[in-house]
């Protein structure tokens, strides 16, 4: 199996022209192995139902986990991402349709959602809630040991986002930015009403690497989407998936899975009050860094 497609350009230079399409199948197979392996090896986490009454005191029945803006971003990005993956890879594997226009328009939608997300994170949410600190690492280690059948005591509760979600977010961020930056450059190679065609922007070799990075990012996204969808439908994670639809988690889920010290919600706050207090769940979350307990 080759990793790069190469060709001789008109000047006889051996240049990369893209990533090998064999890697599409490699990503699908690795994703399938991961899903099957995880489903077989990692037992479903059963809710203990053990709630500390002191912690529960003053908390509303429902707590906002995702604001309407955050949910809108997530589902808009999902639509764009699926459209991009389908238009990118279906034609390669033999399902032919006019894909180029749909692909770049979906790419523009993705860029708009990413811009909104960045704005939302800095203006409306707490940037540091997604930061991985030493307690996340400890949480991850214990989670890994439990998954391998060597649990060490009770698994610590996470902040607003568990460490595996944070790792997924960062991996998705890297490959999405890779795809977005190279995708914008590639729009100079096709007809569109946003950017003028200019094939002379880079040398053939540099253009080749733009295509390689775009391809690697896209193939990486295949694996990440497989993993993301798999975790979204796992029974013990579905409450998180539902929260991305309705925005809320109930108090018991919050107390069972989240450390109130790390994801602080105002006391006595109803959902409506939380929303009114300044942006909803994002504002409800106070990061370790803000509390002075961060790394």
């Amino acid at each position: 199996m080759e990793f790069l497609r190469r060709a001789l350009n008109p000047w006889g230079e051996d240049v990369p022209i893209g990533v090998s399409w064999d890697l599409i199948w490699a990503a699908v197979i690795i994703g399938a192995i991961f899903v099957v392996g995880h489903a077989l090896m990692v037992p479903k986490k059963v809710a203990t139902g053990e709630i500390d009454e002191d912690e529960a005191r003053g908390l509303p029945e429902k707590l906002q986990r995702h604001t309407p803006g955050a949910r809108g971003f997530h589902w808009s990005m999902s639509i764009a991402m699926f459209a991009l993956l389908i238009t990118a890879f279906f034609p390669v594997v033999g399902i032919q349709f006019p894909w180029v226009t749909i692909h770049w328009i979906a790419g523009v939608l993705l860029i708009l959602t990413v811009i909104y997300h960045i704005y939302h994170v800095f203006a409306k949410q707490d940037f540091w809630t997604m930061w991985i600190d030493r307690r996340d690492i400890a949480e991850g280690k214990q989670g890994l040991k439990a998954a391998l059948g060597r649990p060490e005591g009770k698994r610590p509760r996470s902040g607003k986002y568990p460490v595996d979600q944070k790792m997924f977010h960062h991996a998705a961020m890297v490959v999405t930015l890779g795809a977005v930056v190279t995708g914008v450059l590639m729009m100079f190679r096709i007809e569109n009403f946003l950017l003028p065609m200019n094939t002379y922007l880079f040398s053939d070799a540099a253009w080749g690497w733009v295509y390689v990075i775009h391809g690697v990012s896209g193939i990486g996204l295949i694996f990440l989407v497989i993993a993301h969808v798999y975790f979204a439908i796992r029974p013990e994670k579905r409450w998180m998936t539902w929260s991305m639809i309705n925005g809320w988690i109930d108090r018991d889920r919050y107390l069972e899975n989240h450390d109130p010290e790390r994801w602080v919600v105002p006391e006595q706050g109803s959902a409506a009050e939380l929303e009114a207090s300044g942006g909803g769940g994002g504002q409800a979350a106070v990061s370790d860094r803000v509390r002075g307990e961060g790394p």
Binding site: V15, I17, P91, Q96, P98, V100, M197, T199, W207, Y211
Partner: protein, 333 residues
């Protein structure tokens, strides 16, 4: 331009005696196999050492792919390996489908028509000289259209239907077959499929590396022509730089069903202006119910070029298309 070399790279030659053997060999060799019909497109590629298949499947011995036979529905079936001379000189084709006979006789030279086949003429690759030079353009699996830059020489390229690639379909018989509502029969190890001619040719928006629906392992075996329109008028014109021998800059094929001096039905197809033969559906609709006059032709020509866009040095194709369509309406006989 590519340098023609004398030595063709080595390959293993297979000479099947039947279609079943041919498609089995094609399946076996996949994209490393090359189907040889008349060889007129093939040997350019081989001598330029741009295409280097490991196996060549020569259809010269597959007799069942040759000949013209009457169909049950009043139409005719032409084997894909039937020579262009046979098609052009067939009494049946000349009487029932003079449009096709006229188109076939405009292909290249008498020697080439003796050797070239109808199937080969239909599925031949584009003549875009950037692509034929062996450069890694989109059509060759690369990531650029060398003909799509601001400094490209686009005199022969398309004015419509471009999608990253701007190459045009070079076939002379293709527009005639689309205008005649022909069907293409394609065989593979999984069976036989039939495509309407208009669906047989595809653009780069659908697949930038192919000009037809033919994929590795597929073999065009037969061209089926429906019963001809009774009393229909036809028109074919090929415009080229040298009348003695050249690929077309643009060509037009029309079929008009005229009753009482009024066009009842029409087929208008232009080739050489897009990556596929363009059926001018809007113009066809516009001329129905009108006299095949100069005015009607002028109107059809204007409609035909709507949405067209010239590249560098090929804006003449817009005027050419307009006039070809006008003549295809006005002068159909």
């Amino acid at each position: 331009m590519a340098v023609i070399r004398d030595m063709i790279p080595p390959f293993e030659l297979f000479q099947p005696a039947g279609v079943d053997d041919a498609v089995r060999l094609m399946e076996e060799h996949g994209d490393q196999g090359w189907v040889l019909a008349g060889g007129l497109d093939t040997f350019d590629w081989f001598k330029d050492r741009i295409k280097r298949p490991s196996a060549v499947i020569d259809l010269g011995g597959v007799d069942e792919l040759r000949g013209i036979s009457a169909g049950a529905d009043g139409g005719f079936a032409i084997g894909a390996m039937t020579s262009l001379t046979t098609v052009a000189e067939s009494a049946d084709v000349m009487s029932a489908y003079p449009l096709l006979a006229t188109a076939a006789v405009t292909v290249a030279t008498p020697q080439i028509r003796n050797q070239g086949t109808l199937g080969g003429n239909i599925v031949q690759d584009t003549r875009c000289w950037y692509y034929r030079s062996g450069w890694p353009c989109y059509r060759a699996g690369g990531n650029i259209c060398y003909a799509g830059t601001s400094r490209s020489m686009n005199r022969e390229h398309c004015i419509m239907g471009a999608s990253r690639c701007v190459a045009v379909n070079p076939s002379d018989t293709a527009p005639a077959l689309v205008a005649l509502d022909a069907e293409m029969v394609v065989a593979s190890t999984s069976g036989e499929r039939t495509y309407a001619a208009t669906d047989f040719f595809i653009g780069p928006d659908l697949d930038i590396e192919r000009m037809t629906v033919i994929e590795p392992g597929d073999l065009l075996t037969q061209i089926r022509l429906p019963a001809p329109w009774s009393g229909a008028r036809h028109y074919f014109e090929k415009v080229r730089d040298r009348k003695s021998w050249d690929f077309s800059l643009a060509s037009v094929a029309s079929m008009l069903n005229v009753e009482g001096g009024v066009i009842r039905d029409a087929r208008l197809v232009v080739n050489g202006i897009a990556p596929y033969p363009v059926r001018m559906g809007a113009a066809e609709a516009a001329v129905r119910g009108r006299e095949p006059s100069d005015e009607t032709g002028q109107m059809a020509g204007e409609i035909a070029v709507e949405g067209s866009r010239a590249l560098r040095h090929n804006d003449y194709k817009i005027a050419l298309t307009r006039n070809l369509v006008k003549r295809a309406i006005r002068d159909a006989a």
